[in-house]
Amino acid sequence: MKVPRAIRPILVVALAYAIVEAGIPAIGALLKPGTWPVVPAHLARIYLFFIANVVLLYTAADEVLWGRVRGELRYFFGADEVRVVRTLVIAAISLAGGYVAYDAVRPRLETPPELRAIHPAPPASFSIGGKAYDLSTLNNPLRADKSKFADHVKAGAELYFKNCFFCHGDKLDGKGHYADAFHPRPANFRDVGTIAQLRESYLFWRIATGGPGLPREGWPWMSSMPIWHRFLSETEIWQVILFLYDFTGQAPRVRDS
């Protein structure tokens, strides 16, 4: 069966639409199984706008081709023998247009995107109860004496299971038994994107000052991380940090020398 010239541009645009909506995510799924990376709606609209324009230009640029398209359209709109099909197509297009308009004006609910910085840049320094900490020079003091390392890790483990595991989990995977009641979700320390990317001084700052200590881009009003310096001593915080790295087998990021 020969596809009429007037239908072809529509088919090409439909094919492009299918590629943008399903083809691109399918490639993503092949590269990384279990994912379905969709093209953002505004980007998809831009793609389709340009594709539709190019198709239209291509069709209209060749005079012979354009003549045929016009002929077919004239036949479709004018010939008596296609009257039933014509009426149906006009009805379908009108209803589809009505639906698109309805979709555009109906009251809809879109929760705002959460563009929160998970690991925002820390301040240069901060102070707790009058004691100032310079983050650029701060190091974990408990790493100096190797003979006490195991004791500190053990103490850190106990502290973790008395204070942190409710949210960050037995497995340090951020899936503690209250984790899904909080938003944003607690950090997963096993993930290579968290403590493995950060210096120990950064962890000290985040733990000691908690959610309210975050800068604005970290959305301090949402984080349920407690202000731990109110519950734990400085040494205890460093012990927990040692435990986090030791148990997960991650290494803290060190300053580039």
């Binding site: 009505g98 698109v100 483990a157 409710f166 899904d180 949402m222 109110r230």
Partner: protein, 509 residues
């Protein structure tokens, strides 16, 4: 050939692993790394985390396992223990371990856990109870189950509606308070929520807990196999999956109503209003903290009209706690305070991401707190309006100018509290505009669980959205577009036909 080789090797390895006897010494290392912080290095359920947990971690030294499938008082099978290790226990701090521990490790740790008690040397695990008699689900069977539920006095602990509200004080064998399971929430069933899991619980009971075994033919309260299956099906029919909180569902939608909002919470408009459930976490952020909550979720519905907005906050609670109520006080493990609930709003909701700190706001961003409490027995409930600028900075304000009121009632294991306020409120009140997302957070105090003051449960910021009333725009814009399109296309058609007719005419000449 090579394609077959890999699966064959894997199969062989699996067969070997299954055949190899579990090694309790290897299991010790697994246990010390992953389990000891809750269950204790000596297996006595007294690890450093244990005091902060309810239910408490299992004490392995007694050899009593709550969730087993073996007959009578015989010890559990390795499969029973292995299942809890692999799948975990929903609603408790015990996670499923199959993501970090392979089958071999899990078998080894089961072998090690068994060494804490000598019961496994003295007794063989009994045979698993038979599940072969499972009847097909039917409304008749559920009806029989409902009758059996009463006959077997299940309602005395689990409540008439299955919400887990007991009529007597319950303790486990270790002396800890035990609240009966809320049967409408199968996602919190520790030993699984399939009908056959429920049948297993009814048949062998929960050792160490007040839940008796109904399958012991010798006992006077024993039920026949058919009756137990019928109760299992009835219990499964009580499930209310729509109330399962989901982190993705974080918007309470208020529906518009032209008329008055009924005070009666059983009115059809309230039942038709969309409901959303939010998980409650205990307040473990600032002193004094609560670690062992009982009430773990709230369900919210909302309605509004031109004048008012109303929130219906519901939660299942094993006891209606009003100090002075001796019957309820007798059920509470400790001193009983009053049940209470609160809703919190930013005074000035911003269009951007900024909000007041979720823990009662901050100096620059105050919040309104609507507070309802059950009151003393006989005195009736009370409500209040607070302005807060951070924890502990409570300023009470007269609720009357804001048009704020609240009332609550407790039926069959569920509290239902309705807050109402005028849409505009008073100076310093959050305004309720339709079509706009307004942050809201909830807090709950379970008085029989010793919750009072900063010891309470809470949600983070979620949203309230007053769904705009149906407007003419949503009807006439689509109609106009459809008519324009139809008109344009029909017009084109008419022109084309006229032109075609002229051409034919012309050609005919």
């Amino acid at each position: 050939m090579r394609r077959l080789a890999i699966p064959l090797v894997l199969l062989l390895a699996q067969a070997l692993a299954a055949a190899a006897p579990a090694d309790s010494e290897v299991g010790r290392a697994v246990y010390d790394r992953w389990c000891a912080r809750c269950h204790g290095a000596e297996g006595d359920g007294n690890g450093p985390a244990a005091p902060f947990l309810m239910p408490r971690p299992r004490d392995f030294t007694l050899g009593v396992y709550k969730y087993k499938s073996t007959e009578g008082t015989r010890p559990p099978s390795d499969q029973d223990i292995g299942r809890m290790v692999a799948e975990g226990m929903p609603g408790t701090a015990m996670p499923g371990w199959k993501d970090v521990l392979g089958e071999g490790d899990r078998q080894n740790v089961v072998a090690y856990v068994k060494t804490f008690s000598d019961i496994f040397e003295a007794e063989e695990p009994g045979p698993p109870i038979s599940l072969a008699g499972r009847p097909a689900d039917s409304p008749q069977l559920v009806a029989v189950g409902k009758d059996t539920y009463r006959k077997a006095k299940c309602h005395e602990c689990h409540g008439d509606a299955g919400k887990g509200n007991p009529s007597k004080k319950l303790k486990d064998d270790w002396g800890a308070p035990a609240w009966p399971r809320n049967l409408t929430r199968p996602w919190t069933f520790r030993g699984g929520s399939d009908v056959k899991d429920i049948y297993t619980r009814i048949t062998v009971g929960i050792p160490g807990m007040p839940m008796p075994a109904f399958g012991d033919a010798g006992k006077p309260d024993a039920l026949t196999e058919w009756e137990r299956w019928s109760v299992a099906h009835y219990v499964a029919s009580l499930a209310d999956p729509a109330r399962r909180p989901s982190p993705a569902a974080n918007v309470a939608k208020a529906s518009y109503r032209a008329e008055e909002i009924p005070a009666d919470v059983t009115a059809q408009v309230w039942l038709d209003a969309p409901a959303v459930s939010f998980r409650l976490a205990p307040q473990i952020i600032a002193a004094e903290r609560l670690f062992t909550p009982v009430v773990d979720q709230v369900t919210v519905r909302a309605l509004y009209n031109d004048r008012e907005v109303a929130l219906l906050v519901e939660w299942d609670d094993p006891t209606p706690s009003r100090p002075g109520d001796r019957v309820q006080a007798a059920l509470a493990p400790g001193e009983m305070f009053e049940d209470a609930v609160a809703a919190q709003f930013p005074v000035a909701p911003s269009e951007g991401p900024d909000k007041p700190y979720f823990g009662h706001g901050d100096a620059a961003n105050p919040v309104n707190v609507w507070y309802w409490r059950a009151g003393r027995a006989g005195a009736g409930s009370a409500y209040a309006l607070f302005d807060m600028r951070g924890m502990g900075s409570k300023v009470e304000r007269d609720p009357a100018p804001s048009g704020l009121s609240a009332s609550g009632e407790y039926t069959d294991g569920t509290w239902r509290v309705v807050f109402r306020r005028s849409r505009l409120g008073d100076t310093g009140d959050v305004p309720f505009e339709s079509g706009r997302l307004i942050p809201v957070a909830f807090a709950n105090w379970d008085g029989s669980n010793g919750e009072k003051g900063s010891k309470h449960t809470l949600t983070p910021w979620v949203w309230l959205w007053l769904e705009p009333a149906p407007s003419l725009k949503t009807a006439y814009v689509p109609t106009a577009v459809a008519l324009l399109l139809a008109g344009g296309l029909l017009g084109a058609s008419a022109r084309a036909r006229r032109a075609g007719g002229r051409r034919e005419h012309g050609e005919g000449k």
